[in-house]
């Protein structure tokens, strides 16, 4: 535990343990990377993460595949995913900025109840609301539409954004607002000209998380979208390794293209994530 040189056995144990854990953490990912560049539809006929032959066929097949109306299928599904994720993010941020500010700055009756309910909804997953939402969207004729899916995603995106942004607003210095109020600025003006510009980094981080969550969501999309033409990327990727015709090469190539950008984003943002998640659980 100290700066002194450790005993050899301890040093060896720590390094072996770390190396084993790292290998276990990386191995499945390496298999996917290998599969993406190796010919054939089978997943793994050998345990080695090194491909025998290199090929870009899977990427070509994936990007060139045509849907039932002759459209470029992968592009089409990417577009569907983008529409859903961006719309969810915009709705989440637009509705939650003012709410988070109110919960952070003002004291009013019902504040605690509002905070608790936002927290509960954020912690309990949308799968609990899945059945009633399915029945309601069916009644409204919104099943199998991206609009319906955006509404479903908003049920978790809004409380998530409210909690994360509230945490951010809490960290802004209170004196700033007091000074503005003394200078005679109204609440809307303070919010628009002082709070929002200051909160821009917080809003960006929250929005990116919200985007990633919607981009990576599988089960709700697969339940609420039944028409293959409407599939988002996760549903499309899952269907490429279905029970009867599994093309793991296609899946691996698609998985790489789909998840590399959000993984990069995750690495940039993850230091904000832990604080936000556990802050919610502690402060509730």
């Amino acid at each position: 535990m100290s700066a002194r040189r450790p005993r050899l056995a301890v040093a060896l144990g720590v390094h072996v343990g770390l190396a084993a854990a790292t290998l276990a953490a990386l191995y499945p990912v390496m298999l996917v990377v290998k599969k993406a560049f190796e010919p054939g539809r089978q997943f793994a006929l050998s345990a080695s993460p090194v491909p025998h032959h290199l090929t870009l066929d899977h990427f070509r097949d994936l990007l060139g595949a045509r849907g039932s109306h002759g459209e470029l299928a992968f592009l089409h599904h990417t577009l569907a995913s983008l529409i859903v994720a961006i719309a969810t993010t915009v709705i989440g941020i637009a509705l939650s900025c003012t709410a988070a500010y109110a919960l952070s700055r003002f004291r009013f009756p019902g504040r605690k109840a509002a905070l608790t309910s936002f927290l509960v909804v954020q912690m309990f997953p949308a799968s609990l609301l899945m059945i009633p939402l399915y029945v309601l969207l069916h009644a409204l004729g919104l099943l199998n539409s991206l609009t319906g899916l955006i509404l479903v995603y908003s049920t978790t995106a809004i409380p998530f954004c409210v909690w994360t942004l509230k945490g951010y607003f809490d960290s802004l210095p209170r004196e700033l607002f007091e000074a503005a109020r003394v200078d005679g600025a109204g609440p809307l003006r303070i919010f628009w000209t002082i709070v929002l510009p200051l909160a821009r980094p917080g809003i960006a981080v929250t929005g990116l998380f919200s985007f990633m969550t919607a981009w990576n969501e599988y089960i709700l999309a697969s339940t609420f979208l039944t028409d293959e033409g409407k599939y988002t990327l996760p549903v499309m990727l899952k269907s490429s390794v279905g029970q009867f015709s599994a093309d793991w090469g296609l899946f691996a190539a698609g998985a790489l293209i789909t998840s590399l950008p959000v993984m990069a984003l995750f690495y940039v943002l993850q230091k904000y994530l832990v604080g936000g998640l556990t802050a919610g659980a502690v402060k509730g």
Partner: protein, 526 residues
């Protein structure tokens, strides 16, 4: 008469009346749709009876005819072909150039073979209906061409009602005294009339009760106090408003609907109130023994074991790695950390699919490794223990980095001087861990464990995508079982909703317990 009294009375009837009118209009829309549905079904049945008698149907139909018995296809023995006898002669159902309505005819004939004569709405949301009646040659089936037109909203009646409400409330206010509350109550009670007409007398009574309560609240000044409070906090409330309304529409309403659905049975598009029957079926095991994977208590046991094993592994592995990464002499800490959180960065549905591929088949990666080590290959999804282990392995892989990062954060808060002092004082490594490290870990890990256990309890993707509940549903957890009630066992939404309610109660209980436990930790913080 005071103008203040009048303004207060009008304010109260406006706010409460607006809420009531939304409910009443919803009831009107429902009654109107039920009428249209009934008419549609009636017309379909009439058309089917006409076809059976050999007459031309009076209403416009999308398709009508007598469907013959299924015959085995000469080329594919799993296919059953049927022909339909229409007004223009017989033709085979289906085929490359067949109209889309053929599938509806085929399905209706299949349903007739199973259930006998029937009439009902098509489940495609178009509002059209289908009916089948028996004839000696097979079922006569008719599908209506279009949905029935719906009655327009009675705007004049609604406007009249609004007028009556305002006038009665205004009159009460101008009389003053007791009459104020009575005016508000009576004015709002006018909405009981349309509620009774469209929704039946229980709804009418409910509206009347709300009106009476509103009148009483007005009389004793409760609405004034609420109004004053809203005015005092109008900035905060209006800032909260948009998100609040969205949450009510998107979460509170579906949640309430979900609670209500648990008391209904859903069968072929019709809902029947069954009271607590769904809950009784679930909690009594529905005729399945305790060791049957379809028994609720079995699934609950699997869910709890699943949650417990995963959380223990997440916390154990995460903490061990965090302790290793904290060694001061360790080089390239940042690199280790970056590599170790890779599993967290991978979207979890992709993780689940990768592991499914690794476990699948005789030649999957996992079996190849086992064979390389000289062990037997395992058919992972054919027994409970191996399928459960496959799920746990997958979930452990994707879950340990979160606990590791949380533990690392907590370890960083330990002052180095404290540890060094303990070392100088001759404390053993175990003593230092127990007296210094553990008390610092607990306050951070406590909430993370509560959160992680809720995530694991609901980890739909891993169960569904890795084992898919196999074998025989025995690795299903509560949330995947609820999903199967709704989408794989004949749309039993009522059972699924009831199970959802039970899951919610379990999670709520666990959250309360968890908060009590972690609060204790915070007080014990050094």
């Amino acid at each position: 008469m005071s103008r203040v009294d009048l303004r207060r009375a009008l304010r109260d009837v406006a706010v409460i009346g607006a809420l009531l009118s939304v409910g009443v209009l919803a009831v009107f829309v429902r009654a109107r749709n039920l009428d249209a549905t009934a008419a549609s079904v009636r017309h379909a049945r009439a058309a089917a009876i006409a076809v059976a008698a050999g007459d031309a149907p009076v209403v416009a139909t999308a398709a009508a005819g007598v469907v013959g018995p299924p015959r085995q296809s000469p080329r594919h023995d799993f296919l059953r072909r049927r022909t339909v006898m229409t007004a223009t002669g017989p033709r085979p159902l289906g085929g490359p150039t067949a109209p889309a309505v053929d599938k509806l005819l085929y399905d209706a004939a299949g349903r007739f073979d199973r259930d006998g004569a029937f009439a009902g709405l098509l489940s495609d949301g178009t509002g059209r209906a289908v009916a089948a009646v028996a004839t000696p040659r097979g079922p006569a089936i008719a599908i209506t061409a279009a949905a029935e037109p719906r009655a327009p909203l009675p705007w004049l009646a609604v406007l009249g009602l609004i007028g009556v409400t305002l006038v009665v409330a205004g009159a009460g206010a101008s009389l003053g005294g007791r009459a104020r509350g009575v005016g508000v109550g009576l004015g709002l009670a006018a909405w009981a009339l349309p509620a009774t007409a469209w929704g039946g007398w229980p709804l009418g009574l409910a509206v009347a009760a709300v009106a009476a309560a509103a009148g009483w609240a007005h009389a004793v000044g409760a609405t004034d106090r609420v109004g004053a409070s809203v005015r005092a906090h109008r900035v905060a409330l209006s800032f909260l408003g948009p998100a609040g309304v969205a949450m009510i529409v998107l979460v509170v309403v579906p949640f309430a609907v979900g609670l209500a659905l648990g008391f209904y049975d859903h069968h072929h598009g019709t809902w029947t109130f069954v009271g607590l029957d769904n809950f009784r079926r679930i909690l009594s095991g529905d005729g399945h023994g305790l060791s049957d994977p379809l028994n609720f208590w079995f699934i609950l046991g699997v869910t709890l074991a699943w949650t417990f094993v995963n959380v223990v592994l997440h916390v154990g592995i995460g903490t061990l790695l965090a302790l290793a990464l904290r060694q001061r002499w360790l080089k390239a800490k940042g690199l280790w950390r970056v590599l170790l959180i890779v599993p967290w960065a991978v979207p979890n549905y992709i993780t689940a699919l990768i592991w499914k591929g690794m476990f699948a088949g005789e030649y999957g990666a996992v079996n190849s490794i086992l064979a390389g080590l000289g062990l037997d290959r395992v058919s992972w999804f054919s027994s409970w223990a191996t399928a459960f282990s496959a799920n746990v392995t997958t979930n452990t892989w994707l879950g340990f980095p979160f606990m590791m990062v949380v533990a690392l954060g907590a370890l960083e808060s330990i002052p180095r001087e404290l540890e060094e002092a303990a070392e100088v004082d001759g404390a053993t490594a175990w003593q230092r861990f127990r007296e210094i490290t553990l008390p610092h870990l607990r306050p951070a890990l406590g909430p993370a464990i509560v959160l992680g256990s809720i995530w694991t309890f609901n980890m739909f993707n891993v169960i569904e995508l890795v084992s898919g509940g196999k074998p025989g549903g025995s690795t299903d957890i509560l949330v995947t079982d609820a999903y199967r009630w709704a989408f794989e066992r004949g749309e039993q939404y009522g059972m699924a909703a009831a199970l959802g309610t039970l899951i919610f109660l379990l999670l709520l209980g666990w959250t309360l317990i968890g908060r009590a436990l972690t609060r204790g930790d915070e007080e014990a913080r050094p």
